[in-house]
Symmetry: C2
Subunit: 219 residues, 2 copies
């Protein structure tokens, strides 16, 4: 269907649309995909020709419905493979992203649907991100970033914004894992660092880290 490069652009545009609003800029894509702006421009024209994005010169792009569904298919594959790697092959959650980046490009509808069944149709990947079903639909699990919480508030750690290996290894070291109950003990006014508490320990995290931790059932 689409080439690996095309699939990577679709996926990237999709997540950038979610993170920053629609109308994703050339430079933003170049940054995420670690390529040069001129290469991005080339690819955007190609994607526009295939009706996967709407592209107006100097104006950035946004996905068409076809583009959105195609992006969701790649994301579905990525996240299902991550589940497989963690649940079946005993990988740690910080080791699976790069492998899934390769596996997500394997072309076979039958494969991914059988994998889905084998994993018992998981709804979330090892990083707490929702897995689209075969039609591109996901459950919506609304969560709140710690950086938006007030002193005294608590919730269950259910997701990360940044699922890079570096960040996940940091969380491992600090003994923070999905499912942990986390409470905000104090917020330092000077640098907005957060003092948080889990069942087992207390620690201080920078506002940068706080932004990257999502909790649900916050109260």
């Amino acid at each position: 269907m689409y080439s690996q490069a095309e699939e990577n652009y679709l996926k990237t545009i999709y997540t950038l649309e979610k993170d920053f609003g629609n109308e994703v800029s050339t430079n933003l894509i170049a940054g995420k995909i670690k390529t040069k702006a001129s290469s991005v421009t080339d690819m955007l024209k190609k994607l526009a020709n295939k009706e996967l994005v709407v592209y107006k010169k100097y104006q950035g792009v946004y996905l068409t419905e076809l583009g959105r569904l195609s992006a969701l298919k790649v994301i579905r594959k990525h996240r299902l493979w991550e589940c497989f790697l963690v649940q079946k092959l005993q990988f740690n959650w910080d080791e699976v992203h790069d492998i899934a980046e390769q596996l997500e490009h394997v072309k076979s509808e039958a494969l991914i649907n059988k994998l889905d069944a084998f994993l018992k149709f998981p709804k979330l990947d090892p990083h707490g991100d929702p897995i689209p079903d075969a039609h591109g639909r996901t459950i919506l699990n609304k969560s709140v970033s710690i950086s938006d919480m007030k002193i005294g508030a608590a919730g269950v750690f259910v997701g990360v914004r940044d699922s890079s290996s570096t960040f996940l290894k940091y969380l491992n070291k600090k003994n923070l894992a999905l499912g942990d109950k986390i409470k905000v003990i104090d917020i330092e006014p000077f640098d907005s660092s957060y003092h948080i508490e889990t069942k087992t320990h207390r620690l201080v995290i920078t506002s940068n880290v706080a932004e990257n931790l999502y909790l649900k059932n916050v109260k």
Copy 2:
């Protein structure tokens, strides 16, 4: 490490060396890989530069030790993935080859070794072909082609020469599966077709088919 194209050439040269002797010709490779002889020549030079093959103009190639080990790694991955697809995802043996052709190029030592463990270190793939271990070693299971058997001889069906989907679907239709006991009832002198018998039925196969069926414990 090596590109997909390079890996495919290595694998192809390896199997051609096995099937016909060493010194594999340009045209033979072109035929297997469905590409043109001129493209093969280009690639052989590239592989020779990387010391994966020994190449002398107009003389064909053969794998170096490095080339042989690299080829075995790709074959190991291919066959382990085929096992996974059949044993865990319930694919039929005639559906897995093309998917494994893609999966075999995923780069991660950890992945393939964990997959090996998950599958309990299988020694044979779904087509009866031996799976190299992490060091490139395989069990040797000597078997005999039906086309080399005499009337009255019998054995256990353990492998196929051609594992194309077309041939495997033919075997499905004829109700022949790995593990079946097969006996040669008669050989037609006119066209060398074979009358064979399993526990459940009798059938006639052409000499072409007979060449593609391997039995062990023949007596």
